[in-house]
Symmetry: C2
Amino acid sequence: MDRPFRSDCPIASALDIVGDRWSLLVIRNLMLGARSFRQMQAAPERIATNILSDRLKRLVEAGLAVEQRAIAGSGSRGGYVLTPAGADLLPVLQEIAKWGVAHLTDRRPIPEAFLATTPALLLNSADKPLS
Amino acid sequence: MDRPFRSDCPIASALDIVGDRWSLLVIRNLMLGARSFRQMQAAPERIATNILSDRLKRLVEAGLAVEQRAIAGSGSRGGYVLTPAGADLLPVLQEIAKWGVAHLTDRRPIPEAFLATTPALLLNSADKPLS
DNA sequence: CCGGATCCTTGTCGATACTG
DNA sequence: CAGTATCGACAAGGATCCGG
């Protein structure tokens, strides 16, 4: 249950939590407004359902996200929302995005398609994390 | 040989390169001045030799680091140095470190020990990446 | 001794099928 | 719709071995 850290280095410890192949992408989706399981699964990276399920579980355990159960008879069955600790990862994602557009543009087509669906939040200023 | 990206998202693409469990830690070591194979292996995280070898190979292939062969009869047998693209990951590591010290201090002893050996480079301003 | 390479075991990832 | 179960593929970890 307890997650042993590799060392006392804050970088290593942070990567012990979100340093895998998918966690930061799930957090990105949550920052982009995706709340439900299906919405996150619809992201272009096509995460497998078991991985998404597991990562959400881990994020909740780590205190980076919380589950939001439905409001009684509502049609949509609530989803997940970032906690303040999870929202504080925004600068990390911003720097990663900056690095990606600066150094990966010549290897891949063009990120405009994604940037169009990512207005201001990930590449501009650090506004309020979620509405 | 070509590394297929999961999507056009610059975040996802960046994580396709350095988003595994060890790559960013190796880059951290290179930023901290570690050059030789053994120096990096001596980091407190105790990376296995095969993993370190593989990650260095990948970083070189991705253009984030270059091998530096020895200066002829010198005693030290050259090591690895970050390229400008690799050094540009410094802000990413800085933000990760900031998040780690801000949100992980109550779960682990104290990062002072590491911070003492990490003067200014990873937590303060973005100076010259390597001397 | 240093810088890896090579086994081999374990764990995690990922696709698909399936269930409440 | 929101996950869970299953199982093969692959990556990580540990130990050892080898060339210089």
